[in-house]
Assembly symmetry: C2
Homo-oligomer: 141 residues x 2
DNA sequence: CAGGTAATGCAAAAGCTTCTCATCATATCG
DNA sequence: CGATATGATGAGAAGCTTTTGCATTACCTG
């Protein structure tokens, strides 16, 4: 992703936008909050205002470059959108996030919506649980 | 629900708690925000602080009397818990909410969690769409 | 009904996000 | 390639929802 992709998305290729795009691509965590992005920029010695981070992430969302998710905890997180829809399973203990797709669930959501008389536009499915990774602070493997 | 149910839930039967319980039961809308509850109390001429409404709703949630949902829009909504789990389908246009349960979806969530190595504790499934009720401001029946 | 403990109300604060507005960078056109 | 108009940025203030601190008040027990 570079200034080209920004223009294709209808956005001027400004320095802050390019930097934020880079952060999103290079981040170790795939799902980051606006604050995470802001800190990463500071750590990289790049001066970008927090307000700009929020603005740009919202523009990216509108342009379809990123997705915003509202997991529990009040803070929105963003991830690069790479063309393939997926849902999330989140660890209550360590915040670890895994992505998944289940075709049966997807199909049944459409059935449910139709039955209820809704034209489905979107959905949000988040499973919460305790992961069993050795890294997890709660895991007593 | 009355003072008895509060005590069973381990909560002192105070006036504010009883009043809030009443609001939740008598509300036309099943899903209400803290602000909604606060306004309803004021409209009923009952003086309860907003902070108390937030505190009590959180206690009710902990006690299992209500469920909290974070739909889009940033404001949490609460509904009385009546023993039966369900998910929600929300109209983008008018905010109308319908409840549903789909056993296949429920089952597959557990499968997904197991495959990912998670002990599932909870989940949040919200379908967004446009409803086709005559009341809906967007509906062009 | 008196006393201890817990709940309330108010106001202040906290956390996240958006807005305002003066300044600055970008794309365009000459 | 440089001037210009347009749109983006930064800093701080403001907005909204929710939480907290603390003095006062209400509830339950005996």
């Amino acid at each position: 992703m570079d200034r080209h992709d920004l223009k294709k998305a209808g956005l001027k290729a400004t320095l802050p936008r390019i930097r934020i795009l880079n952060i999103l691509e290079q981040s170790e965590k795939r799902h980051v909050s606006a604050e995470d992005v802001y800190r990463a920029l500071l750590d990289a010695g790049e001066e970008v205002g927090l307000a700009t981070v929020y603005r740009v992430l919202t523009q990216f969302e509108t342009a379809g470059l990123v997705e915003r998710h509202n997991f529990e905890g009040g803070q929105a997180v963003f991830e690069l959108y790479e063309g393939k829809h997926h849902d999330h399973i989140v660890c209550n203990q360590c915040g670890y996030i895994e992505e998944f797709v289940d075709q049966t669930i997807e199909k049944h959501q459409h059935t449910v919506a139709k039955k209820a008389g809704f034209d489905i536009t979107d959905h949000s499915l988040i499973i919460y649980g305790d992961c069993t990774r050795a890294k997890c602070p709660h895991y007593e493997g």
